[in-house]
Symmetry: D2
Subunit: 344 residues, 4 copies
Amino acid sequence: MFFGSDNTSGVHPKLMEALTKANDGYASPYGTDRWTAELTERLRDLFQAPDALVYPMTSGTGTNAAILAAMTPPWGIIYCHKTAHIEVDERNSVPFYSGGAKLKPLPGTASRLAPEELHGEVISDGAKDDIHASPPAAVSLTNLTEFGELYRPADIAAIADAAQLPLHLDGARFANAMAASHASPWEMTREISALSLGATKTGAMAAEAAILFDPSLKNAFESNRMRGGHNLSKARYVSAQILAWLQDDLWLELATQANAMGARLAAGITEIGGELAYEVAGNMVFARLTRAQHAKAKARGAVYNLWGAQPVIGDPDQPMLARFVASWSTTEADVDALLATLTD
Amino acid sequence: MFFGSDNTSGVHPKLMEALTKANDGYASPYGTDRWTAELTERLRDLFQAPDALVYPMTSGTGTNAAILAAMTPPWGIIYCHKTAHIEVDERNSVPFYSGGAKLKPLPGTASRLAPEELHGEVISDGAKDDIHASPPAAVSLTNLTEFGELYRPADIAAIADAAQLPLHLDGARFANAMAASHASPWEMTREISALSLGATKTGAMAAEAAILFDPSLKNAFESNRMRGGHNLSKARYVSAQILAWLQDDLWLELATQANAMGARLAAGITEIGGELAYEVAGNMVFARLTRAQHAKAKARGAVYNLWGAQPVIGDPDQPMLARFVASWSTTEADVDALLATLTD
Amino acid sequence: MFFGSDNTSGVHPKLMEALTKANDGYASPYGTDRWTAELTERLRDLFQAPDALVYPMTSGTGTNAAILAAMTPPWGIIYCHKTAHIEVDERNSVPFYSGGAKLKPLPGTASRLAPEELHGEVISDGAKDDIHASPPAAVSLTNLTEFGELYRPADIAAIADAAQLPLHLDGARFANAMAASHASPWEMTREISALSLGATKTGAMAAEAAILFDPSLKNAFESNRMRGGHNLSKARYVSAQILAWLQDDLWLELATQANAMGARLAAGITEIGGELAYEVAGNMVFARLTRAQHAKAKARGAVYNLWGAQPVIGDPDQPMLARFVASWSTTEADVDALLATLTD
Amino acid sequence: MFFGSDNTSGVHPKLMEALTKANDGYASPYGTDRWTAELTERLRDLFQAPDALVYPMTSGTGTNAAILAAMTPPWGIIYCHKTAHIEVDERNSVPFYSGGAKLKPLPGTASRLAPEELHGEVISDGAKDDIHASPPAAVSLTNLTEFGELYRPADIAAIADAAQLPLHLDGARFANAMAASHASPWEMTREISALSLGATKTGAMAAEAAILFDPSLKNAFESNRMRGGHNLSKARYVSAQILAWLQDDLWLELATQANAMGARLAAGITEIGGELAYEVAGNMVFARLTRAQHAKAKARGAVYNLWGAQPVIGDPDQPMLARFVASWSTTEADVDALLATLTD
């Protein structure tokens, strides 16, 4: 009953197998190996982006920061939702990598940027056009969002229109977004300058790909990657995992399973009187259950996180928000077992 | 009719005279001169802070940044009002000097921090207590605020209580705040760890003092000051100005004049149908006047700034916000002349 | 015939097996798993350092930078040899992570720091004791060095005595140094505040451990690790590899093999008239061979690097320096095959 | 008898007078005043550089750092002499402002860069052309150098040829260099991309001009100036000083006087048995005198600095290096009085 995060799940057997196969003698280092070359071709095809540059990475935070620092000068502004991982969970990595750029977190709606609000901020900041002020530089989106919501291609287009700025997409759960949207990779990224494509949360070991759809980011990104300590010598092992992950749409299959388990959980929680806090588009469920229910679940070994500040004491009927995350390895039995812990 | 900013005014004759007197042969460099020693003693007495460290500076931005970077690790959070100069007008100087710290701008009320809101943010950020999150480090206040409002000592105490964090005070218009509050320097700063004391806007040439009430900030501040390029060789000329400024309470006299002109202007604007946007505590007046009035004033040579985004076209009765700043050298005749440009 | 670098070799089967075993269901993320706990205990025992803190990492550069930035203020000096990886091969990662600290590269002898020279620099820099100057903060050693030389425990003690500063050890080839020195881990690190323990070059996939012998580095290191993007969610896979690597002294066995192949190669090169440029203590051989020999080897498929600036044209007898690196997977047959390519 | 540094001298009366004249009512802030406009025109004419951008500054360190950070990416190398102020006396300001760029200090000859050595370093660093390495970005020269030596235009041309990189000139004592060389400003700077023109050491209060001969540096320089805290509100007072300084070649007159006093001192020191350590091209004299002579001078009130590490005890005949700096206000009587203190 592990619903703490999808990063607590293991590695899919096909990726383990790919690692074993890639472990075949010597290979040229730092991404000059044949797996990385193949990965580049594979991702260019998938995203219909023949000029895209592809880099195997082991860290989503490192990927985000190295990309965003290539998209802004040290004095620029990067807009994001106030719940964004880069704003909330990366200990100032973007100001660090960029040498001082500002993240401007916006309230939006739930965990999604609101195009009109974004537009207003960018216009207002851009209108200053003054050396005292910080100029708009880029927007960073997360899809699925931090609350498990989905941006569809039309949503992203609306944001692009509103901002008139280069867009970065934090795709820690990009597979879940793709599985939920049924859009093509190209449709989902046609407005995007650079994508942090995360495989770790969907079945890989520690494998991400930085994809630069805008090749002019090359030198700054590669420099940030290097000085950040993210230029892997044995890159083949990351590339080989992602190749296996993409093979026969395994990534979508795994995400579909995780999403289905999210939906099953959401339905079950509603049934037992829980209240869903946000749209459940994929594998993340935010729900309010009573203090008594949480206590019971915890006592019975369920693992998940209460969300936000929690009152220390309170009456058993008090609703408390929790986050449940299903993963590629979550089964129906797991979901049902979790639901059982919440029920008497 | 210069009401664009108090930094457009000149230097008070007594400060010019002090410069001339200080220009007497050789002096030991980098603040080891006798003027700086005397300034330190004078400010320690004034603030009843025998351990305070004092540094002559030429820049408010440099002073703020060098201080704040000594009050936070690169991964910390500094809370400020969303209108704060450090947030809006210093081109990311705090993330720059601190190596990545985050300014967290809060809405507060008008241009003042709201203690309860601040408390909530600090508690919420502090409660994470997780390596992913950024820990609370300090609070920066501005007094007078950017909208010309005043924090009284009790307001600052409430903020200190709410935040339980070290406080920095941006005192670009500290003299105006002191003149408006009738508090003692000690009362106004007893909760403050470090003060950027600005004299430039109140009659000096380019003269500020960094005052570290908390002497443990010494090494980091001095290092930031040095590597930021703010360790002046001929420091005597700044210290001599501030000494003259403090002499016989000249600073309060000049600020009192500026504040009185602010009040006169506010009264006059109200009289001609303008609407004051914020409390006028000192020398800054934010007021809504009609587009027609602004057009007239501008045509007649009045200098001041419309504030915020402005619609390009509109009807003559449309109210438009403007900022007027009086300075130590503003006269009643200046105010009346400005008011005349806004009338019939 | 891959002698380009030990990072071109694969992963040892026992580490692959450990990965498979660790891939067992869910595990708590970010190093709170049982493998990482066990690794901490194992390394504390090995180094006789009960208070040491241990962090699984995927990058040597990231480990070095996150550690060193915890050992210096942004205005400090870190001394290293002019051939050090941090100085030559990490694209300014240390000034980046530290927010501006200076690496001071010293000539030393070949690739080792010379205690007397280091002492002179530290004393001279420390004697300034002036806010204009940068104060000495730490020393970084590499063992094996970049030229494959060895520091024995007595050498490190001499450096510690000379510098009177905290020491960092870049142990990308620490296993090779241990196998060459026959010292105990404790003997080799008793003067060291923090160790970047590299397993990648000696049989792991992308696995390093940061070991803080000085626990006061904790907060700054963990913060740098996080904001640098090196706090792995699925840390178990790194920890499991290193545990397998340490098991039954596999690490020393692998390093011993690599070192033996280095020795065999050095002997063979000498035999065919090549000149060794530096002491061959472990698995790296720097040798001068004729342009004709290099041309032959290259034509026959040998992979290794010429070292330093190379004249574009020249006569066939001209000596040219090359670097050959043996790895844990290098066999006698590999060495002999390489030697054959160099011989007619 | 103040020979500690030229920054201990006062402000020339004509500059004080210019300050008084500039103190005439209101002026537009942040360099949009008429004095700064006039200064720009004046310097463009003087340097025959119609596109040059000019910025009044109060700090040489701030000027150097804001310029150099515009000339390099965070991962670049800036070459300088090992005695350069930016390397030795600015507490890591260049790595700080640039977000991590490396200063590469070179031995050169005495305090001047040696073109051949510089060429070798640039070629060697540039040849790596590898993401691990740091690419060459710029060269920074100081004229007069830190040891008071002179680069003539031909010397600078030789350096430009050797480096094939953009050049920055730290002109803290540019007036002294001009007076010594009898070159035209254009001749002295035709190879230079940006100049830190210092007036402070030659008669100003705290007045420097950043001159960008390469206008493409504009945005990055202005951003660094702003976030560094060097965008002065009351810029007119700096510009007015420099205008007065340039008027009727006052700057050259003052520098000529300082240089003449340097020459007189050098001759006098030689006469009393002192040994000059470096060429005395301008106003700085480095000389070895006996411990007994220094003791006498000090006892008689002479102010100057011993240079480098000093043995604590020693015999009275031991030669000890000292630095003497003459300024615009040094008189023949001052020099003779100093010499008298050194003689019995």
